[in-house]
């Protein structure tokens, strides 16, 4: 029991001391990191926004596929040649369409896709409101019409049928 207690204390001490030591070591590590080449940061930005055409939801920057690596090389070459970010993005758009962007672009088709479900929801809510109003408000046109129809039915065939049934009962 005493050994177990000693071991537990040691593990607890390690758990407390390790993060503290890591925090102390951090400033020294930060000091040795070199500032990133701004061109490389632009390459990363553009490539992270481009979709790897042969992968599942991975960007050109994150993917290890051959096509993504070669696309990254094209992006890097263009950035180093001094081409503008928008021109590089347009280069890929003109070849692969808007599929190549990780984020959907704002165009009429995409707007319809985004707004469609909300419009359908609104339409459904309106329909439901209209239906509920008809069910609970007998003064509405269609409700009174339904009642009138049912009265007519009752007064016609139904009444004679009820009478027939009553007559057939042996009192």
């Amino acid at each position: 029991m005493r050994h177990l207690l000693q071991w537990s204390m040691c593990v607890l001490a390690l758990l407390v001391v390790t993060p503290v030591m890591a925090q102390e070591a951090e400033p020294a590590k930060q000091g040795t990191v070199k500032a990133e080449d701004p061109r490389e940061s632009l390459v990363r930005k553009i490539a992270s926004e481009l979709r790897c055409a042969v992968c599942q939801s991975q960007s050109v920057y994150d993917s290890n596929s051959g096509l993504a690596k070669d696309m990254l090389k094209v992006v890097r070459d263009k950035v180093h040649a001094g081409e503008q970010e928008d021109d590089i993005r347009r280069y890929f758009l003109e070849r692969y369409g808007d599929y190549i962007y990780m984020e959907p672009v704002m165009n009429s088709r995409n707007m319809a896709l985004w707004a469609g479900p909300f419009a359908a929801l609104l339409f459904g809510a309106f329909g439901l409101w209209f239906a509920i109003r008809n069910w609970y408000n007998p003064n509405t046109k269609s409700a009174s019409k339904a009642d009138k129809n049912s009265d007519e039915a009752t007064s016609g065939d139904m009444k004679s049928r009820i009478q027939k049934e009553l007559d057939s009962i042996d009192m």
Binding site: V54, D70, K73, E94, R95, Y96
Partner: protein, 186 residues
């Protein structure tokens, strides 16, 4: 429920079913090209065999089939007999040319592929780092583009060319183009 509401409800259900049907029929691996009805991009590069430089501009005024392939691509083996047929056809027709682009490949691998399956006489560009393939928006092999005499891309083929491709796919497009270009045609 009024007739109009029934019609709207039925219409909505039909619309949802049609959209679902369209979605199910769509091949998600097939990325629609943005190059259709646009001028063909630059195609200039070293020949697969020899030291020549091949340039699509040298074939201006002709119908050009640009075929992207690689020795690593299994479907390209199935497509090769059709390309060999087209190679025989271009010797009979002045208005039609084929340019092959061997991409993401090694010369050794490509030459071994051609030795095994037949070497066509049409020019082939060697594109090991896919620069030409990316320029043309290629995703997978084999893929092909048909370029008209005005230098416009009018058709993209995803996957291997179908059997008798020229007669079934290219010829109707060529005839439609010629009819449109004929003097007096609207």
């Amino acid at each position: 429920m009024g007739k109009l509401w029934k019609f709207i409800l039925l219409g909505s259900i039909v619309l949802i079913l049609v959209l679902m049907g369209l979605g199910l029929g769509r091949d998600t691996k097939k990325i629609p090209t943005a190059l259709l009805e646009k001028p063909a991009p630059i195609l200039r590069g070293p020949a697969l065999a020899g030291t020549d430089t091949i340039d699509i501009a040298d074939y201006k005024g002709k119908w050009i089939l640009v075929n992207f392939w690689g020795s690593w691509c299994g479907a390209c083996v199935g497509e090769h007999p059709e390309l060999m047929r087209l190679d025989r056809l271009i010797k009979e027709r002045d208005d039609f040319a084929v340019i092959g682009v061997d991409y993401k490949d090694t010369r050794r691998g490509a030459m071994a592929f051609l030795r095994r399956h037949g070497t066509p006489s049409y020019p082939m560009v060697f594109d090991p780092d896919q620069k030409v393939a990316i320029e043309w928006g290629i995703v997978r092999a084999p893929e092909s583009y048909l370029v008209n005499p005005d230098g416009m891309i009018i058709k993209k083929e995803y996957g291997p060319l179908v059997r008798n491709w020229f007669n079934t796919v290219a010829l109707p497009l060529i005839e439609a183009y010629n009819a449109k270009k004929k003097p007096g045609a609207s």
